[in-house]
Amino acid sequence: MTEAALRRVRVWDRPTRLVHWSLLLLVALSWWTAANDHLTWHVLSGLFILGLTLFRLIWGVLGSETARFASFLRGPRTVLAYAATLFDRVRPSAIRVGHNPLGGWSAMLLLLLLLIQACFGLFSVDIDGFDAGPLAALISFENARWAAHWHHRIFTLLLALIALHVAAVAFYLAVRHDNLLAPMLSGDKAVPATITAPRQGTDRLAALCALAAGAVVVVVSRLPQILR
């Protein structure tokens, strides 16, 4: 198959890309605000991360084909078979759209870890009992400190997973000559004509999902006031 036989299709829809890059910025912001004692902003940033991960979970069920968990979470046999071909250079005929079997689990793991991290943050309190997540008021100082302790630990784990993610993208470019970064920026990828373009979710549906996720975050963050 020649290069000429490739055509560009939309592989990552707008909401998925927006969530991806927003999460990168917000994780960086969360780290910076925590390191520089801007905890009010840290809490806000964390709430946005919670909202984005919740949206992504909903979008993983209702969204575009490549965003759906059912399309990219594969069984162990598929994952292992794929891992065995990891060092092969990708021929145009082997080009795929969406997550590969390893990348799918990597994305899922990152998403779940971000969700867990945000939840621990909701209950965390600092050592002085001054800066706290919106749900720390529901639990004791000791338990909120325990949450903060794990909030720190999970961040280290998260950094390791992000490093692996970036290393994998670099590996795909260097070894497999497969540029994963460009499609996550533009949304499009050149694929053989034999591959059908993935079905896309509408922006209206995405807006509804975002609204739902946002509503959940608002309710969660105000739970102590609501329960009062």
Binding site: V125, I127, D128, G129, A137, F141, E142, H152, R228
Partner: protein, 156 residues
Amino acid sequence: MTSRLIPVLTVAAILAATGGLDAAAAIDAAQVITARQENLKTLGKTFKALREELSKPAPDRAAIVGDSQTILKLSQALPTWFPAGSGPEAGIKTAAKPEIWAKPAQFAEVASAISLQTGKLSELAVAGDFAAIAAQTKETATACGNCHKDFRVKDD
């Protein structure tokens, strides 16, 4: 003979004196550190309770006065919680940095800055101006943080 004996006796006297001082300053490091940690936890716990009370639509003034009194008393006693020998050299897990004992003047300064703020906090609590109390909790937390920045090991 006498001239050679004097330095020996002097050294012996110094040794005896410092040994004596050591004995006088001997502390139960485990007990001191545990008590200190309990007190600091009570401070954090009380501060959390105070802030949560203030965030209610109708804060309970008596509770706020009580919390601010607890915070004031503990913070005034704080400088006495760090006797020599209760640092990391005691071999017990503590977040207290050796700088507390290496820079006693600086430590005394940040410690007294805390009780200055908690003093204002308790005065405002008695006066019952909730907005002013809330603003003062921020000043107090900054004073706590200033001490932690230089004298407390960061959480892992």
